[in-house]
């Protein structure tokens, strides 16, 4: 204790001491060396002294790295050591993304897209003739022949539509030119026409606004 602290026992200001004084008075600081005392060249070791190998824990104290520049800082490893310990996850992430994209593209789920197929009315031949559908302004008739070519019939209109695009065009023309807006589609498919063509005709009808669809099988080569 200094004299000033004895005169003012309740003074809370820290005592002004030099760095050397504080080191000398610090209980945690090592005791100062006397002039005649030598610094021990080697730290005594118990296990490593006999073999001549130095304890790796103590080695850093004696042989500091040049990069340390005298800092008393404990380092567990150099930067290179730390990098070597880290697992490179990039290839794993690459493979994972590749698999993810593959399964996303090829996935087929249990929820299927479907279109409702109008059930055939009966086994017996229909009493309604094609001419009756042709004369009915509520119906647009699409005939699919054995070569999978469409023919759109509505009123006076009877146009062939070899392709799907043509079918859409002809159906739109039939609907736009009508006095009374038709709402029903009659698909008359030849027995040799493909299932795909019938589905396309039904889909085209829905696309142009013909909400009700009927399908009829025919074995006639022409209307």
């Amino acid at each position: 204790m200094s004299e000033s602290s004895e005169e003012k026992p309740f003074d809370l200001t820290p005592p002004k001491r030099s760095r050397e004084d504080s080191l000398a008075g610090d209980s945690f600081a090592p005791p100062p060396l006397s002039q005649g005392e030598d610094v021990p060249s080697e730290v005594p070791m118990e296990a490593g002294a006999e073999t001549g190998k130095k304890d790796p824990i103590l080695r850093w104290k004696e042989e500091p790295d040049e990069a340390d520049e005298g800092h008393a800082e404990v380092k567990l490893g150099t930067g290179k050591d730390r990098e070597a310990l880290e697992l490179d996850m990039t290839p794993m992430v690459d493979v994972t993304f590749l698999l993810l994209i593959f399964f996303m593209v090829t996935a087929s789920f249990t929820l299927l897209k479907t279109i409702e197929q109008p059930a055939p009315n009966s086994e017996e031949p229909s009493m309604t003739t094609v001419e009756e559908f042709e004369d009915n302004p509520d119906y647009v008739l699409v005939f699919i022949d054995e070569f999978n070519t469409y023919t759109v019939v509505y009123g006076d209109l009877e146009e062939e539509a070899p392709s799907e695009q043509e079918l859409y065009v002809q159906l739109r023309e039939a609907i736009n030119g009508a006095d009374v807006q038709p709402t029903k589609l009659m698909v008359k498919a030849h027995g040799d026409a493909s299932h795909e063509r019938v589905v396309i005709a039904m889909d085209a009808g829905t696309d142009v606004g013909l909400t009700e669809t009927e399908v009829m099988l025919t074995e006639q080569d022409a209307l």
Binding site: V93, K113, T114, E116, A193, D203
Partner: protein
């Protein structure tokens, strides 16, 4: 004093050299979750593959509540018809057209009695409509108030 300044400079240099790293752990977690979902939910069985017709419009029905028939055009004059969602030989409906129609009617009747609400026909696009019409008529004999649906794939 100089050594303290040097130390501060060294600290700043060390901090500056460290690049900001993004934590990609949540991204990998989500990716694995999606991967597992798609592995579980997808079916890679080649027997399930049917070359369906394409359509823009249409709805979706759950396959679990449907009696499924698969029609393939192996033979253009006599397409193969399978009970169930796969092309397994054990489930193939063989015989004459009349025998096939009877088998279809019995299958649909049994499935609909078990609580199925739809009859789903997965037909390859090249099957002739003559055969499809025959199948539709046979199915209609087996159903009461169920709907007949034709499977399609999305047209883009």
């Amino acid at each position: 004093m100089e050594s303290e300044l040097q130390e501060l400079k060294d600290m700043r240099r060390r901090r500056g050299s460290e690049e900001p790293k993004m934590d990609i752990t949540p991204m990998i977690d989500v990716t694995f979750l999606l991967l597992i979902f798609f592995i579980v939910a997808s079916r890679l069985d080649p027997q399930m593959v049917v070359d369906l017709a394409k359509a823009k419009h249409g709805g979706a029905i759950p396959e679990k509540t449907s009696a499924v028939l698969v029609v393939t055009q192996d033979n253009p004059d006599n397409p193969s018809i399978f009970k169930g969602a796969s092309k397994e030989v054990a489930n193939q409906i063989t015989g004459s057209p009349e025998e096939q129609e009877e088998a279809i009617r019995a299958f649909v009747d049994e499935e609909c009695s078990g609580g199925k609400r739809y009859v789903l026909i997965k037909a390859e696009r090249g099957v002739k409509y003559r055969h499809m019409d025959r199948i539709y008529k046979a199915v209609k004999q087996g159903i009461t108030d169920q709907q007949i649906h034709v499977a399609v794939i999305e047209k883009r």
